[in-house]
């Protein structure tokens, strides 16, 4: 069965600190991978996506993620967080055989000014 695991439910960082949020998935076939972000009071929106090609993908607002196929991982990174990055981050996996997008439980990030 398809599943997604996010390692941290809550993360607190100071501004300018580096961020890495872990995401591992379970699926036996080809996947498309996503990170979505939900800022306070706003709807879920796409942060970045991986379909194929270069496993290091860059998204909006300085975020990037690396797909490591052998580890079934798609970790999100940002070298220096800002207060405005305070949000909830969801990793999502689309199994191209099952046509279903599965989400992780989310990580709440709070950045202290």
């Amino acid at each position: 069965a398809q599943s997604v695991s996010q390692h941290n439910h809550h993360v607190i960082l100071s501004e300018a600190a580096s961020l890495e949020l872990g995401c591992n998935y379970s699926y036996g076939g080809t996947v498309n991978l996503f990170w979505y972000v939900q800022y306070p009071g706003q709807h879920l929106q796409l942060l970045l996506k991986y379909f194929s090609g270069d496993p290091l993908v860059k998204g909006i607002k300085g975020f990037e993620a690396e797909f490591i196929k052998s580890k079934f991982s798609f970790n999100l990174r940002k070298p220096s967080v800002q207060w405005s990055d305070t949000a909830e981050y969801f990793c999502a996996v689309f199994g191209t055989g099952g046509f279903k997008t599965i989400f992780g439980a989310g990580t709440r990030l709070f950045v202290k000014a």
């Binding site: 498309n32 709807h43 279903k100």
Partner: protein
Amino acid sequence: EAGVVQSPRYKIIEKKQPVAFWCNPISGHNTLYWYLQNLGQGPELLIRYENEEAVDDSQLPKDRFSAERLKGVDSTLKIQPAELGDSAVYLCASSLGQSGTGELFFGEGSRLTVL
């Protein structure tokens, strides 16, 4: 371009009452999804439509939940009767093309509180 529109944004009802949520997807998006998001959890798929056909409703509790997308555009999700455990955010999303890439465009959600 208008995004996914959902209404109402908030709904408070007493248990055993019916409730309905409406969603209008992005124009041209054939695929429409209803997701359930409980507090502290990620969205969970309830039902997926390809045009007017429900192609995946395996996670929809059919004893009390129903959905329709009669003309293949907007959609309604209904709960009757509502239970306390139904308190959650109901998210609608759409995507371009049949089955597609998995990239979803979400509405703002409808937050349901059942008293």
